[in-house]
């Protein structure tokens, strides 16, 4: 099935992501920031879908929007929001922030100007119907070692969290 109005949807989702991202850092109420972040993550998963990566898009929705952000909200709601909103919003990392932003902007400008020569003109679209199977064979075949290392890292994090949270194991 041929894609429908690809540039339109790309700009739409990109705009939603940008608006959401700006809202995350400008809202004073942390719950509003978290909700804006969820909107950003959902728009990002739509972009993944447009890149013929449905599996990554689905995992993005389940893990980030449905799982991690719910825990974020959970924690934020337990904090007294009235008091934290009255406190001064401090940010003393102007220098680092400006340097990082300039570097990122430079990268974007370079890609925008020289993009056609750096990247191949067009990539063969991956067939959508067996994308998930491809991901599986790559993860458990070619990149088995890296995958296992990553899961070990997560295991360490889980054990660390349990040890820190519980006094008597």
């Amino acid at each position: 099935m041929a894609p429908v109005a690809t540039p339109f949807f790309f700009y739409l989702f990109a705009a939603i992501m940008l608006i959401g991202g700006i809202a995350v850092i400008t809202r004073k109420n942390p719950v509003h920031s978290a909700l804006a972040l969820i909107v950003t993550l959902l728009a990002q998963s739509s972009i993944y879908l447009m890149l013929y990566a449905p599996f990554v898009a689905g995992v993005q929705v389940i893990l980030y929007a449905g799982g991690i952000m719910v825990l974020f909200l959970f924690v934020i709601m337990l904090v007294s929001i009235d008091r934290s909103m009255k406190e001064r919003q401090f940010n003393s990392q102007w220098v680092v922030g400006i340097v990082a932003a300039t570097a990122l902007a430079g990268l974007f400008v370079t890609v925008y100007i020289k993009g056609t020569s750096i990247f191949p003109d067009r990539v063969l679209p991956i067939i959508e119907s067996d994308n998930t199977q491809k991901v599986a064979t790559m993860l458990y075949g070619q990149y088995m070692f890296a995958f296992e290392i990553a899961s070990l890292l997560l295991l360490v994090a889980i054990i660390g969290a349990v040890v820190m949270a519980k006094k008597r194991i």
């Binding site: 099935m1 599996f55 389940i62 449905g66 709601m77 119907s129």
Partner: protein, 426 residues
Amino acid sequence: MGQIIQYIESYLKTKDLTPGAAGNMFWALVYILLIFGGLSVAVIAMNWLERKILAHMQVRLGPMRVGPHGLLQPIADAIKLLLKEDIMPTEADRFVFWTAPLIVVMAAFTVFIVVPFGPTHAVTDMNIGVLFMLGVSSLSVLGVVMAGWASNSHYPLIGALRSSAQMVSYEVAMGLAVVAAVLMTSLNAEGTGTLSMIGIVQAQQAQGIWFIFKFFPLGAIAFFIFAVSMVAETNRAPFDLAEAESELTAGFHTEYSGFRWSLFFLAEYSAMIAVSSIAVTLWLGGWLRPFPNLLSGPTWDLVFSLFPGITFLLLAAMCFFNAARMPKHPMFRIQTIGLAGFGMVLGLIGLVLLLPAVRVRVQDIFWFAAKVAGFMYLYIWYRGTFPRYRFDQLMHIGWKVLLPLGLAVLILTASVALLQQRLWHP
């Protein structure tokens, strides 16, 4: 004009394709509208059935006043809810309070895009079908949390915290059970499984067994884990701690009234139907009729394709029987006529469903709906039978019973599948 008609007709010529896969916008829209209408009717019917069945379980009559046997009660309720004043607490976060019910409803309805009511009767078939359903239905917890927080009141906040903790915990066990079933789809010659909802049912058809009976008792245990965690996911009794009325009034939707409350109600019931249809697709063979391989052949095909029509005719007969039993008082005359008329409508539907051209096309939908209806009855049965769990008991079941059980089932399924492939097909 001719082009439009040709566009509409072109889908009818394609065999075994969903409208989404055929890329036909018109038929996709038709299917979406049909599913939307069917779901609304199902929620209304479920509302009436739940009150009636619960009442009969507790030796009461249930709604009897509005219409014969209270048949018009859900409509009266809907009108009451729409006419009610829409109250918003003064201290509430207006925007979040306003969007929360919308998110819950949208999450509950969007999942039906991939539900396969038949090999061609789905809006579309996605490569990541199950993943999509689990992901989108997990978004409804966001709406619950938002509703609880935005109300700016204590009971809703506690209810929202409880339900988010509950839904996040049970999602893990649910996911493990689903993975065990998806693993079973890969037991074919190519050795590749599928996440597509239609593909999963076709795998069960190809292997000649519903996954609930596969590797007995492994499939059944995975099904059991899913069946428990789906009740917890939808916040229904006995896991309805988020809205435990004895402790929290009504939980996260305490401050909601009128139309917004009815949106939560609609979302709860359609989410129940959605998770039941995941269970039906993964373990109970989706749209497949009972014994498609054992009792095959044209005679059995005919017998099983008569079921939908006969079911409706039986319902019509029930209506006529009860219309004859109505009190012979002039006050009940309108109700008697109404009930007989309802029976006539049901009977007509039954007769239409008996037509050969119709019955071949709708029997998939009928078997799917019948299996989902079984789950709906189970939901009501649970509510009438089990006492509510305490919150620590709920967490105990989720993390210390269902999660290890799910892991064990997953590992055992993988081992048995591998052994089977090595020993029987070397």
